[in-house]
């Protein structure tokens, strides 16, 4: 038996055990007895271990280049470096589902330990196991271990004796002599993915996606247990962890797009980017609304809803990007995975939305109703509005990304929205979010005294004005952008002010302020780098300096990097600075497209960003071609050219087919000012490297040179007068027209203060990390309190 068959069986075992784990955990919860608990746990462990084993086998097959498997043949090859070879694990659909399922099942092992300490294990694990089992079902349907001969039976499966000399075959049926050949080389990894980002980015993104299943499971568990309040303390560390990891993944993807893919910016509002942003926004919104519930007990239903939606949108995002519904409306190519995956993903959404919201609806009536007691100027209200704005961003992004589906239902023809849609809808919300993220920190719970509020507002307002003025000096801009800048600077100062106070009191509690500082810095970076960037397309003729955006650029030539890829060296000068940037272009035979990679100079206060557009070779349009029948002539400038005959005297019959060397001559007669001259064009194959056409130069009496070259011959054996030939003539250069050299066209841009974006990101992640440690301590304290009470 082949090892892949075994692995596919192991995946099925994992699926069934996860399903069993879910069932027996649910029984444990229903019966309120631990009779089945150990069994349920073992089932979950079997599921996780089986999946780990199957993944290890998968990795082994990839590392040993087993192209008997369709997936490995499709995405891998023997020429990849080890890190890239490992990354082919998740380069395709089946593999990335495997990675998602694997990480989800591993996180489940930690969740199991955590939940059992918090007295939540049976409820949460019954839901979580069901999620794991559905992910595994995807692998049962879309088997990563499918054999290539079943994917291409017509090409690979054969009957009869195996010819000698073939070793790459597998006997399928020894009795009937049915066997299959398999490839010895893979198709290889898409060159677009062949860089170090591919090794790290999907791993982080999938860890983030996987951890989004936890808040959902805990919310459903809370509903099952009729625990409407303390579940949020159990869930918060996970929500913050998920937001941190997914956020890191999203921004790394942005950096990948900026630095390597040459999108020109860090965010392109592409469906793939958007679809990971939606759950992130909802998760962040839920972190905020749970804060209010901790304080006052309000927002019970909101918190359930947001936590449920976090995971449901992960499923919806997967559906958007993996089911093929977006079709051709994006730059990403979405492979149609077949009806099974489409319906399974749709079924998953319906099932998990049904479970979550069905339970929520059933329990709605018995939930505590907490009267809202806070005033307009209270932290609660700011948090509520902030979370509201975040959810609206998520909604708008979701609607924009789903546009092809919406329009195909409404208008019958799918069309995507313009990128301007996202900017227009989200900018007002961004203004609200940044303002509230500063204001909320300055306000007290329940109600703030106007006098103390005004006092604390002074510094942030001044900072806001200063920030706006600074941005104004970069060039005039529209009102909304300036307002956004004001609010971001305001939020930055407010959070610094509040954060400093908290840090002096209890440094552990400063996470929230730091995260807000990070967001404010990022938003300022968005404004400066994308709204005040300058862009110019420049044609650089080789060796000639061109001034653009204050930089002197000289294209000095190109060099091959590897066989299909070329680096184009551009000398960039500005004052003292002299640097070479090397954007690259890469014509990929595999994807049959040109890949363009930018290069940049990173200054402290800006990036100088150069992305290649095209290379224009010296123009060849002075070349003309002509077709002549035997015995006819044609006028070429001042000359008259006549096709006399073919000369096959150095040509053996069949030589061309057998790849032997041969020479075919074509005799032409050139008539110039009454004088005749013979020239002979040659088509020859000497080294066996294919036919060559040897150019012949003709110098006219007025000293112009014409270059003749044979293009094609069409001898007619029966009727020799029907023999044809095509030749081309390079006309003499007209010295009055200057000839253009090789020209590189690039798009140069300056992105002011883009480092703010990266700096803000790091700050945000630090803020998340501090919050995780604070909230998990709090969750620990809560469970200790419970066990004491018990």
């Amino acid at each position: 038996m082949l090892i892949g068959t075994l692995a596919a069986v192991i995946v099925k075992i994992a699926f069934l055990s996860a399903l069993a784990a879910g069932f027996f955990y649910y029984r444990t919860f229903k019966l309120q007895s631990n009779r089945w608990l150990l069994f349920a746990r073992s089932c979950y462990h079997i599921a996780a271990l089986s999946l780990m084993t199957a993944s290890a086998i998968f990795l082994y097959l990839i590392l040993t280049h087993q192209f008997q498997y369709t997936y490995i043949w499709n995405y891998s090859s023997t020429t990849l470096s080890l890190p890239l070879l490992i990354s082919t694990f998740y380069a395709g659909q089946e593999g990335s589902f495997t990675l998602w399922a694997l990480y989800t099942s591993i996180i489940g092992l930690f969740l199991m330990q955590y939940a059992s300490r918090k007295d939540y294990e049976p409820e949460v694990m019954s839901v979580y196991s069901l999620i794991v089992s559905f992910l595994l079902l995807m692998l049962v349907v879309k088997n990563p271990f499918a054999f290539i001969w079943y994917s291409f039976p017509n090409d690979l499966i054969q009957t009869g004796p195996v010819p000698a000399g073939i070793s790459n075959y597998v006997m399928l049926d020894a009795v009937k002599n049915i066997w299959a050949r398999y490839p010895v080389e893979g198709k290889g990894l898409n060159p677009l993915l062949q860089n170090y980002w591919m090794v790290i980015h999907p791993q982080i993104l999938f860890t983030g996606f996987s951890s989004m299943a936890v808040p959902y499971s805990l919310a459903v568990a809370g509903l099952l247990k009729r625990d409407y309040n303390s579940w949020i303390r159990v869930a918060t560390p996970w929500s913050v962890f998920g937001s941190m990891v997914l956020g890191t993944g999203i921004i790394l993807g942005g950096y990948w797009a900026y630095e390597t893919l040459g999108w020109g910016g860090f965010w392109g509002w592409d469906p793939v980017e958007n679809s990971s942003l939606i759950p992130w926004l909802l998760c962040v919104a839920s972190i905020h609304t749970t804060l209010t519930q901790r304080k006052s007990g309000a927002f019970v239903k909101t918190n359930f809803t947001l936590s449920l939606l976090t995971f449901i949108t992960v499923l919806y995002s997967t559906f958007l990007t993996r089911s093929g519904v977006l079709g051709d409306t994006s730059v990403h190519s979405f492979v149609d995975p077949g009806m099974w995956v489409y319906w399974l993903l749709l079924g998953c959404i319906v099932l998990f939305a049904g479970i979550g919201f069905g339970l929520l609806f059933m329990r709605m009536k018995e939930m505590p109703k907490v009267p809202v007691e806070h005033s307009f100027i209270s932290r609660e209200f700011a948090l509520f509005l902030g979370a509201f704005a975040l959810s609206f961003v998520a909604l708008f992004v979701a609607i924009g990304t789903s546009s092809p589906i919406i329009t195909s239902i409404l208008k019958g023809k799918a069309s995507a929205v313009e990128i301007s849609y996202y900017v227009k809808t989200n900018l007002p919300l961004g203004i609200a979010i940044t303002f509230l993220s500063g204001m909320g920190q300055l306000l007290w719970w329940r109600h703030s005294k106007t006098s103390s509020l005004l006092k604390s507002l002074a510094l942030p307002t001044i900072a806001g004005i200063v920030g706006t003025l600074l941005v104004l000096t970069m060039g005039s801009e529209e009102f909304l952008i300036l307002l956004f800048t004001f609010c971001s600077s305001f939020s930055l100062a407010a959070n610094l002010q509040v954060g400093y106070g908290i840090f002096m009191g209890n440094p552990k509690f400063v996470g929230g302020s730091i995260a807000h500082i990070g967001i404010a810095i990022m938003c300022l970076g968005f404004v400066t780098s994308s709204r005040y960037d300058e862009k110019k397309t420049v044609s650089l003729e080789r060796g000639k300096a061109v001034e653009a955006l204050g930089y002197k650029m000289t294209y000095v030539g190109y060099h091959p990097i590897d066989n299909e890829k070329y680096g184009f060296n551009i000398e960039v000068e500005k004052g003292e600075l002299k640097k070479i940037v090397t954007p690259t272009m890469h014509f990929s035979e595999q994807t049959r497209s040109t890949l363009r990679h930018p290069d940049l100079i990173n200054f402290l206060n800006k990036d100088f960003y150069v992305s290649p557009v095209s290379l224009e070779e010296p123009s060849q349009d002075n070349e003309k071609s002509f077709t002549l029948l035997k015995g006819t002539d044609v006028d070429v400038a001042d000359l008259t050219v006549k096709f006399v005959d073919f000369d096959f005297s150095n040509f053996e019959k069949g030589a061309m087919l057998e790849g032997k060397s041969f020479v075919i001559n074509v005799n032409l007669e050139v008539l110039e000012k009454g004088k005749k001259k013979q020239i002979t064009l040659k088509m020859q194959n000497l080294g066996g490297g294919g036919p060559e056409f040897i150019p012949v130069t003709y110098n006219s009496t007025d000293n112009k040179s014409y270059e003749f070259r044979l293009v094609r011959i069409q001898p007619d054996k029966e009727d020799k007068s029907k023999s044809q030939m095509e030749f081309s003539v390079k006309m003499p250069q007209d010295p009055s027209v200057p000839q253009k050299g090789e020209t590189l066209v690039v798009e140069a841009s300056v992105k002011p203060m883009i480092n703010l974006v990266w700096m803000g990101t790091v700050t945000l992640i630090v803020g998340f990390a501090l919050t995780i440690s604070r909230r998990s301590e709090e969750a620990r304290a809560q469970s200790e309190r419970w066990s004491k009470e018990a």
């Binding site: 398999y182 929205v417 227009k424």
Partner: protein, 129 residues
């Protein structure tokens, strides 16, 4: 309490209106050249590249021009703001996004639709045997 509900309701209504208006505005309609000429709005036109008519990239203006035949067989010169799109030679059909100006279609974007990646796989298998 009531004031807050009113504020929230207004926020929701404003949000939905804002979203809906932008959504409809930024959805670029699919039409043919004739309709594009009439509306002068930004539209998308699907068609084919007419290969035997000239196509040219001007490195000074950074514009790529080519001739395109739409689904109702009308041939129009398309001027794209940018370089020749990826996979242009291989494309079975192209979609140009832009406006009709003076007998020319000024495109801001040209998408190419290529034969499915999987169409030639049988050939690819043969190659790697």
């Amino acid at each position: 309490m009531n004031v807050k509900i009113i504020v929230a309701a207004i926020a929701i209504v404003v949000g939905i209106v804002l979203g809906a208006v932008n959504f409809l505005e930024s959805n670029v309609e699919y039409t043919d050249f004739a309709a594009a000429e009439r509306t002068h709005k930004k539209v998308q036109v699907k068609g084919e590249w007419v290969k035997d008519k000239e196509s040219n990239f001007d490195s000074q203006t950074v514009k790529f021009s080519f001739y395109m035949k739409d689904d109702s067989n009308r041939i129009v010169k398309v001027v794209l703001d940018g370089a020749k799109p990826n996979n242009f030679e291989l494309a079975t059909s192209v979609v140009a996004k832009g406006k009709f100006v003076d007998n020319e279609f000024h495109a801001t974007d040209v998408l190419t639709k290529c034969p499915s990646k999987y169409e030639g796989t049988s050939e690819a298998v043969q190659k790697t045997l």
